[in-house]
């Protein structure tokens, strides 16, 4: 195995692969990345056994194909520290890799490919193609609500549902929920549902180009994004996604319309004075007025701000976790947002004031019980 490659090309690939490589693993081989030199070029792979990325990079010269697993951290640090020059690699005996630049020569100890986990194989896979803009938007609008608590593993991912006439994504941690549905896009695939782990979603968002389409491959246990030179594979989260439709309120009869940016900055300021443990703020609603307040009983801090709003219901006080509320407000795209409310102990339904064509987008937040 012998080849030359441009520093910037290799570094870009290594940094992308580095997103999955664990820095410390109980399975030390995972701290390595796999170099496969093939006739077509160099293939670099990283995996944490849940998520794997493989990317193909062009090389300047290929001489005898071969493979070697190399320590990811050392390789990335090394390549990062070089200027944008051509670098020669040559595999010597005993899995030693020689790196040569215009100024220096270095040796890295690698491991045989046999030690590196095999790429998962699909069985009964289906392929379909989605527009990048669509999938990126839907992932962005849901990932923030994914649960990080292992108590309910099925909630630890974005739920993707493909139905005959719609494409939908949902995420919830039980305290907030985001659901986005697109009816304009028809996937040429049988109806299916899957739970995508957030790490894969984050890496996918980094790899999705602004324009164009991406091909997806799916079977019972895994999903693969085929982005041109890079493929991203992820195991799907096991388990049954809960019946989220059941928790979406249908009879919230009080409407609050508020300027999104103004509310975001109020909540940010007021929440500085909330308990650092609960981040609890209180919204006091009265006709056409909203009071945002917080108090930290332990430290003695307190904050209050008044906003002009549109509100037609009876006066009400609701407690929320400020961070959950901010997450939701940041994801509503329009200048104003609409809250549909029922009572201080029921979920609020939040929507932008206008919808994109063929799209429906709703978010929910559960209150904190005011003591």
């Amino acid at each position: 195995m012998k080849f030359s490659i441009n520093q910037s090309t290799l570094l870009e690939a290594l940094q992308n692969i580095g997103r999955v490589v664990p820095t410390r693993s109980t399975t030390p081989i995972l701290e390595n990345i796999l170099f496969d030199l093939e006739d077509g070029g160099l293939k670099i792979t990283g995996t944490d056994l849940e998520v794997s990325i493989t990317t193909r990079v062009p090389v300047e010269q290929v001489d005898t194909p071969g493979s070697i697993a190399l320590p990811a951290r050392v390789m990335t640090e090394m390549i990062r520290s070089l200027p944008d020059i051509s670098i020669q690699f040559e595999l010597e005996e005993n899995n030693k890799l020689k790196i040569t630049t215009d100024k220096g020569r270095y040796h890295v100890s690698g491991l045989s490919k046999d030690n590196y986990p095999e790429q998962p194989q699909f069985s009964d896979a289906e392929n379909f193609t989605v527009p990048n803009q669509l999938i990126a938007r839907m992932l962005q609008k849901t990932i923030f609500a994914v649960s990080s608590e292992e108590l309910r593993p099925a909630l630890m991912g974005v739920f993707l549902q493909i139905m005959p006439d719609e494409f939908r994504m949902v995420a919830t941690d039980g305290h907030r929920l985001s659901k986005i549905v697109n009816r304009g896009f028809k996937a040429e695939v049988s109806p299916l549902k899957m739970i995508i782990p957030p790490k894969a979603v984050q890496i996918a968002l980094k790899n999705l180009e602004e324009e164009g389409d991406t091909e997806l491959t799916i079977d019972q246990t895994g999903l693969q994004f085929n982005f041109g030179n890079t493929t991203l594979y992820t195991r799907l989260v096991e388990g049954e996604y809960p019946d989220y439709e059941r928790v979406i309120p249908r009879d919230n009869d009080k409407t609050l319309t508020v300027d999104r940016e103004l509310l975001i900055s109020s909540v940010k300021r007021v929440s500085l004075f909330a308990s650092a443990l609960t981040h609890q703020i209180r919204l006091e609603l009265s006709p056409n007025q909203l009071l945002v307040c917080s108090e930290d009983l332990e430290v003695g801090g307190e904050g209050r701000e008044t906003l002009d709003v549109e509100y037609d219901g009876e006066p009400m006080e609701i407690g929320y976790n400020a961070n959950y509320l901010l997450d939701i407000l940041r994801h509503a795209d329009t200048e104003q947002v609409v809250f549909k409310l029922k009572s201080p102990v029921r979920a609020a339904l939040i929507t932008p004031t206008a919808e994109n064509e063929n799209e429906s987008f709703i978010m929910l937040i559960m209150p904190i019980k005011l003591g």
């Binding site: 990080s148 608590e149 292992e150 039980g174 928790v247 976790n321 979920a347 904190i368 019980k369």
Partner: protein, 386 residues
């Protein structure tokens, strides 16, 4: 002046077992791990007074206890039963004392400073409590009454079992002086040995050592020793004070490798911890898992959750998750432990969409707890889920 009562149940776990089973009364009873004919590997949790005459005491390896008295009655720990009895006794304390500090299941401080007149004196209160524990629970307790917690505790210890010792202010020094220094708080084995090397064996001798000398030898602890030798202690009886953590452990009879057995044991431990947690109307933010391998390498890992939990299954989910991470290689396991900490009051707080379902599960847990309280720990148990 303060008046503090310390109530300490006599050989609590063993006495409950003897009370509930007439056949083992007046016999040496050891509550703890399975002795397995002398090869058992856990420890003694409690020993009846009959067992103590054989030199058996709590925290001793169960195999040693077996050697000392193989014909003793060895019983497993039934924490839930002891909890149940304990809450009954603690409730009784609250009838007489405005401030009660439960130190453990079998021990509490009562501050009766304000109410003595109401109940015609602290002695009267303590007598009544002792009598009611005997008549209502058929158990004996040792009681100490003194001007502070240090002396009250030493007083209850003084005449165990079934003791009743009053140390009024004017007799403090008379009470303390003849006692060995090891009877004082803060005098463990190491301090005891060092004091003995200085020729100090009794509190009277300790009192003769200048404060400066004690501080230079024992540091901060030296200052406390000087105070304790004079019966001085101003630590308050703290009602709000409660356990900072709750945990249960299990030592396997032989090093365990079967994943199903281990998972089931984690489930049973989670159930025990959950029961104790819910019984105190608490929730926990942190779940800890302890794992000891056959070579005694011991790992403890904790997981903190965003929202406090109290359900056994939530504790189990976290514990089993940690176990999976700690023992990927499936090494043989000697001991496992499940614990919770960062405890808080239950109720209120962040609501969840799936609360209906949660409430159902919480209700189920409370029902199981109720059955256990009424019919004993083994009346109902969760089946393993593999």
């Amino acid at each position: 002046m303060r008046v503090i009562i310390h109530v300490d149940m006599d050989a609590f776990y063993a006495s409950i077992e003897q009370r509930d089973n007439p056949v083992i009364r007046n016999r040496p009873v050891v509550v703890g791990a399975d002795p397995a004919g002398g090869s058992g590997r856990g420890v003694v949790s409690a020993a009846s007074y009959e067992a103590r005459t054989f030199g058996i005491h709590s925290a001793m390896p169960i195999s040693t206890a077996y050697k000392r008295c193989p014909h003793a009655v060895f019983l497993p720990v039934d924490t839930e039963k002891y909890c149940r009895v304990s809450s009954g006794i603690m409730a009784l304390f609250h009838e007489y004392a405005p401030v009660v500090e439960a130190v453990s299941l079998d021990e509490a401080f009562l501050d009766v400073s304000g109410v003595q007149r109401l109940f015609s004196g602290a002695e009267r209160i303590a007598r009544t409590i002792k009598e009611r524990i005997l008549s209502e629970h058929r158990l004996t307790a040792s009681v100490g009454i003194a001007p502070n917690k240090l002396l009250a505790k030493m007083a209850s210890e003084f005449d165990k079992p079934d003791g009743f010792t009053v140390v009024p202010q004017e007799r403090v020094q008379q009470f303390l002086d003849p006692l060995p220094v090891s009877a004082l708080w803060g005098v463990g084995k190491k301090t005891d040995v060092r004091l003995a090397a200085m020729g100090v064996r009794t509190v009277r001798q300790l009192r003769a050592v200048p404060q400066q000398d004690l501080e230079s030898i024992f540091g901060k602890n030296g200052g406390s020793l000087w105070n304790y030798a004079r019966g001085l202690d101003d630590s308050p009886v703290e009602a709000g004070r409660q356990a900072k953590s709750i945990s249960n452990e299990h030592t396997f009879a032989r090093d365990e490798t079967c994943p199903e057995v281990i998972a089931d044991t984690i489930l049973q431990l989670s159930e025990k911890v959950g029961f104790r947690l819910r019984n105190r109307r608490l929730t926990a933010k942190t779940i800890t898992f302890k794992l000891r391998f056959e070579d005694f390498q011991t790992l403890v890992r904790a997981k903190t959750v965003d929202h406090p939990v109290s359900l056994s299954e939530d504790i189990y989910a976290a514990a089993v998750g940690i176990y999976g991470e700690l023992n990927r290689e499936r090494r043989p396991v000697r001991l496992i432990g499940v614990g919770v900490s960062h405890l808080g009051e239950s109720g209120g707080g962040q609501m969840s969409f799936f609360s209906e379902e949660r409430e159902t599960r919480e209700q189920l847990s409370l029902t199981i707890d109720e059955i256990k309280k009424r019919f004993g720990e083994n009346a109902i148990r969760r089946g393993p889920r593999y």
